[in-house]
Point group: C2
Amino acid sequence: MDAKDRQIIRALQANGRMTNQDLAAEVNLSPSPCLRRLRNLEDSGTLRGYSAEVDAKAYGLPITVFVRIRLERHNEDDVRRFESRIHAIDEVLECHVLTGASDYQLRVVVPGLDAYEDFIRHRIHPIGGIASIDTSFVYSTVKKTNVFPVID
Amino acid sequence: MDAKDRQIIRALQANGRMTNQDLAAEVNLSPSPCLRRLRNLEDSGTLRGYSAEVDAKAYGLPITVFVRIRLERHNEDDVRRFESRIHAIDEVLECHVLTGASDYQLRVVVPGLDAYEDFIRHRIHPIGGIASIDTSFVYSTVKKTNVFPVID
DNA sequence: CCCATATTGGCAGATAATGCCAAAATTTCA
DNA sequence: TGAAATTTTGGCATTATCTGCCAATATGGG
């Protein structure tokens, strides 16, 4: 992982579908070594994959919610149970374990407020062992980038 | 936006760099109409772009933080000032306006705890007009997907 | 049931990816 | 410092993919 690899990474974070030729031009390499570096980053797991960025509203999911959840008990069984149940819920796009007052933060997308109520009542509460749920709806997004800052 | 378009979107959320031929095969179309639908989704802004998913730790940014910030005043000038300053900070990958106790939630990546202290002291505090800052470090990530749930 | 419109599939020329080999650059060790 | 060993690079030829055009098929309205 040198500066050139990080340059390749940032270029692909900005445009994940750019051709290898364009990528090579952007990082001042010829296509062959550029492609070899790219494959190395993929094979090593540094580059986990590629994804389309989609307008959730246009797709039909206008509501994004950050949900913070604290569990009543933190024994291994309850934690594993909660996490495996979370995994199975399609509306949950992200779930992180956090420091601070809450245990988990989820990012959830739903078609409407009624669907969010359904989600909490029929997907989250039935898991059991939940001490508290704190809901924050996203009004708007001020900034969203996938490109990491330059380091070194 | 029909079921086929949503199928295309989900396929590209799962693998943003798949070839048009593979995409066409996955959604049961031949390459030409598939490409035409794809371009329409891009041109309409539904497909905003494509991005590489990167292991932040392998890149050199092992610390991810969610920061919740409340402003002292909410007049137009202070809000615009805050948001434009946030835009210019490379470590801030996301900034959302939220309902609930806080005004903003940021996702920030840094190389270490010292860099986070620097970020708060030299990037956030100097903006001024900040009532409170609540920091939650990400211990681990239980789930992370880009693929939207199937709807309709 | 038929017509107008939208969508699809196949084909051909242009563009891009990929594996191989020699040349250049970098590192290692005396 | 200098020379060998290793790594990385660039160019080329083959293979695969993209993309624009046209006829054929499917869809929806009267």
